[in-house]
């Protein structure tokens, strides 16, 4: 079969299916699952966040910057970010072994790489920032949801950041590019492209692909995923602001007061970068 013929064939296929195409949960192709984020859920952590993204339920805790143990892993000129991704045994069906798997280690590493560009690690020599992510219930796209929760938890911990990191996947299902794949679409779909994105800096910090996409489809999927990230970002912002009641007038005088009290343990951050 010649190349042009295959192309023509898939095109007609796509057209004929377009009318019938419907996602399993009745969403539009570019629609996210409902996202809910809450901050400050672990009182003993420096910062924490809880996210519900569809039926994903994930809790993230941040500790640090603190002294690193074992000490030999610390870096003399910069801090280290450590992310532990872990799925609870009951988070999936059938039950999963609680021991860390190869997949857990990999996603932990991928999340570290996704979050690191947003941090000023050079300010914390010899220290570590620990992020613990626990999947309570999994429904596809947990790595993206985990990145979202971890980013909010980092801000909640008072760790200076260049930007928030929002994350969302796009993929291919029944020859259609769709946003934010659920568990069923993840398994039955043809491809999955998780993307993490810093919306204000407009930088992609995570890009993976599982499956087969053409060049055009890849571009389309990444662009769609970035649109999804921007929607997630708005939810993250709201979650961070919600903690402070967002009463604009109330916030006014307080700030003055705290400034004048003199004793403020203010950190003077770099003047010029």
């Amino acid at each position: 079969m010649s190349k042009s013929k295959t192309k023509a064939k898939t095109k007609t296929k796509r057209k004929s299916r377009k009318k019938k195409f419907e996602r399993v949960d009745g969403r539009k192709a570019d629609e996210l699952r409902p996202v809910k984020i809450e901050t400050g859920v672990i009182p003993n952590a420096d910062g924490s966040a809880y996210i519900e993204m569809g039926r994903n339920k994930i809790i993230a805790g941040v500790y640090g910057p603190r002294e690193m143990h074992p000490k030999r892993l610390s870096k003399p000129h910069r801090g280290v970010l450590r992310v532990r991704y872990h799925m609870a045994p009951f988070s999936v069906d059938p039950r999963r072994s609680p021991a860390p798997s190869r997949r857990d280690t990999e996603i932990g590493m991928v999340m570290t790489d996704a979050l690191e560009p947003a941090l000023f690690l050079e300010r914390y020599p010899r220290s570590v920032i620990d992020v613990y992510v626990e999947i309570i219930q999994a429904d596809g796209g947990t790595r993206c949801a985990s990145v979202n929760a971890a980013a909010v938890a980092l801000v909640d911990a008072g760790i200076p950041m260049k930007d928030l990191v929002a994350s969302c996947a796009a993929g291919k299902m029944e020859d259609h590019i769709v946003l934010d794949l659920g568990d069923y679409e993840d398994k039955k779909g043809q491809a999955d492209v998780p993307v993490a994105y810093m919306p204000k800096l407009e930088e992609v910090t995570l890009l993976q692909m599982d499956g087969i996409l053409t060049t055009d489809e890849t571009v389309e999927a990444v662009e769609l995923a970035i649109e999804g990230c921007k929607q997630v970002y708005e939810v993250q912002r709201e979650a961070l602001k919600k903690k402070y009641g967002m009463d604009e007038e109330d916030t006014a005088e307080d700030a003055e007061e705290s400034e004048e009290s003199g004793e403020e343990p203010a950190e003077s951050e770099e003047e010029d970068k």
């Binding site: 801000v155 008072g158 950041m161 930007d163 912002r237 700030a255 007061e257 010029d272």
Partner: protein
């Protein structure tokens, strides 16, 4: 050359605060000539300085800070103290008893692992490790009381304008309160009831730190509870 927010607006990391020439103050960073926020907080525009008043921030040790910490380890001639900073602080025997270390000294008799101490930061060494001292008035081992933790960035709020808030609490409850700049607070009073009242009040202040007219509200809150007790 323009401000992107009103003063006192809540901003989150990555928000563009200012376009053009200005000085980047606390909790901000400069990128390609623009100034962005690095922490969640309230935007603050001064004449030529843009800054963010942080609502969440860790403790950054500075020389002269009064801190409350816990002894975590004993080494030859020095103690390691956890003060909630990124590095553990060091307290040497010189700064603890005013004498250099002698091998016949039993260091655990001076301070043991698990002791809570009130100390002052006297120096930051070249690796930014805080050096503590407990030589001085009101410094040293804490004997009794409640120890609570609040976000270090809210300590100024607890002290209030020229100490207005904390003095009011002291007057109303007659407790002794030692405020560490690292967010740890030691409360000791004549009876447990009063101590618990102070703990409750401080937690209330922490939760409502970003609202205005707080001092008056706390005063009324304390008076209400006192009347209920009668």
């Amino acid at each position: 050359m323009s401000a992107k927010f009103e003063t006192r607006d809540i901003v989150v990391p990555g928000d563009l605060l200012f376009e053009g020439r200005a000085r980047a103050g606390d909790n901000t960073y400069r990128n390609e000539g623009n100034i962005y926020a690095t922490r969640v907080g309230l935007a603050n525009y001064n004449k030529d300085r843009v800054s963010v008043i942080a609502l969440e921030a860790g403790f950054i040790p500075l020389v002269g800070d009064l801190v409350i910490g816990m002894v975590t380890d004993i080494e030859l001639g020095q103690w390691k103290v956890d003060i909630g900073a990124e590095n553990e602080a060091i307290l040497t025997t010189n700064d603890a008893i005013g004498k250099p270390f002698r091998s016949y000294q039993d260091m655990t008799k001076i301070l043991d692992v698990g002791d809570t101490i009130v100390a002052k930061i006297v120096d930051l060494d070249r690796r930014r490790t805080p050096i503590l001292s407990i030589m001085g008035r009101d410094l040293g081992k804490a004997r009794d009381g409640f120890l609570i933790d609040i976000t270090p960035s809210k300590i100024p709020r607890l002290i209030g304008k020229k100490g207005s808030m904390i003095n009011m609490i002291l007057k109303e409850t007659r407790c002794q309160v030692t405020i560490g700049q690292n967010g740890k607070i030691l409360i000791s009073g004549r009876n447990r009831e009063n101590e618990e009242l102070v703990v409750k009040t401080i937690k209330k202040i922490e939760a409502e730190a970003h609202t205005s007219g707080l001092t008056n509200r706390i005063q009324e809150y304390l008076k209400d509870i006192k009347e209920q007790r009668k």
